[in-house]
């Protein structure tokens, strides 16, 4: 698993790539919590995620809840097929805000 963090159009974008599983989800969790400290408008790009397990999903849930409690935005973008099916299985596909891309998020209004 690799990641890349970038700031773009006022958002903090975290691109995740590869497998988010028991071996890598602690890293993803820490990365997200670190990012959230600045209360950013956080978008997690899952388009290159080839695999995600329940611990990865749990990290996303924790990040989302923390964002909500501090009143900042948290959304998933470009959810890959692998990630989508797992989110559906977790019945979380209706819980997270999900956009196809940053562009689609921008169409939904400014921050």
């Amino acid at each position: 698993m690799t990641y890349l963090v970038e700031e773009k159009d006022g958002f903090l974008l975290v691109h995740l790539e590869g497998d988010v599983d028991l071996s890598t989800s602690p890293e993803v969790r820490k990365l997200m919590l670190d990012c959230l400290r600045k209360k950013p408008q956080l978008l997690i790009d899952l388009s290159q995620v080839s695999y995600i397990d329940s611990s990865g999903v749990a990290s996303l849930v924790e990040g989302y809840q923390l964002s909500k409690s501090q009143g900042s935005e948290f959304a998933l973008i470009g959810v890959s097929e692998a990630a989508r099916s797992v989110l559906q299985l977790a019945r979380l596909d209706k819980v997270f805000p999900i956009y196809d891309s940053l562009a689609q998020r921008l169409q939904h209004g400014s921050i």
Partner: protein
């Protein structure tokens, strides 16, 4: 009294029940005819188990009535109800078998409780029922030694040991694999043929419901969505019925906020 009502063994009229202030059943009407297999379906929380308890006269309606053999349950004396219950064989989902008793003693239990029969007679009757459910030769085994399917069949043998007029099953195929579940369905149909009993089955297994039902009642949030034959239910254009047939669609309807809260409550840092 119409012909149909005359043949009905149980009639439910405008049944309403509450659990605390929550309405569980809302004006349910249903009649169960002599010798028919009635399947009660619905998602979790639809009220199907509550309806079953009312059919067994275990719960008292808040309003409406339940008639057993044409007479209001409320008008039976306690003693009469006890006698009636002996004519009802029940196989509950979890109350399957006494773990401390072997198979034969499990099956014999109702006879020992409710009759003064000689023990030899009781044992022979029990073994006859074990024959019927294809468990001959397993009398001495303890429940822990049986497979899931065998446990269900033993429970079935116990349910019929008093030669009931009515048989009630709560989720008979829960936890069974499809092949074993199909076998159990066959057995239920065979018993109906042989004993001319009315059978009421609560299940959420569609395959099973379609195999055994003469009629199906579908409950949704305490209300009757439809009562009809297998074909009538399959061909229903009611969206909620179709959702149920296409299984789980309703289940997926979660309240996002509440779900997120459940997942994250009492966690450190949140």
């Amino acid at each position: 009294m119409t012909d149909q009502a005359f043949q009905a063994v149980i009639e439910v009229e405008d049944l309403v029940t509450y659990y605390g202030t929550r309405k569980i059943l809302d004006r349910v009407n249903l009649s169960i005819r002599q010798g028919e297999v009635m399947v009660i379906m619905g998602g979790s929380g639809s009220g199907k188990s509550t309806l079953l308890r009312h059919l067994l006269a275990l719960n008292k309606p808040a309003s409406g009535s339940i008639r057993l053999y044409g007479k209001d349950i409320g008008k039976y004396s306690t003693r009469e109800l006890q006698t009636l219950r002996k004519r009802m064989g029940v196989s509950f989902q979890n109350g399957a078998l006494f773990n401390s008793l072997n198979v034969e003693d499990n099956v014999a239990f109702p006879l020992r409780e409710h009759t003064q029969l000689d023990d030899n007679t009781i044992r022979i009757m029990s073994r006859m029922k074990l024959e019927v459910v294809n468990l001959a030769g397993f009398e001495e085994l303890m429940p822990a030694q049986l497979s899931g399917g065998m446990i269900k069949r033993a429970a079935l043998a116990r349910a019929i040991v008093m030669d009931p007029d009515m048989l009630f099953f709560d989720e008979p195929s829960a936890g069974l694999d499809p092949v074993v579940s199909a076998d159990l369905d066959e057995l239920i149909l065979k018993l109906r043929e042989a004993m001319q009993v009315s059978v009421v089955v609560v299940t959420h297994e569609l395959d099973s419901a379609f195999r055994i039902a003469d009629r199906i009642i579908v409950l949704d949030k305490g209300k009757v969505l439809i009562i009809g034959t297998v074909d009538e239910v399959k061909n229903s254009d009611n969206q909620r019925v179709q959702n149920l047939l296409n299984r789980r669609a309703e289940d997926v309807e979660v309240d996002p906020e509440a779900y997120l809260k459940r997942l994250t409550e009492n966690l450190a840092g949140l």
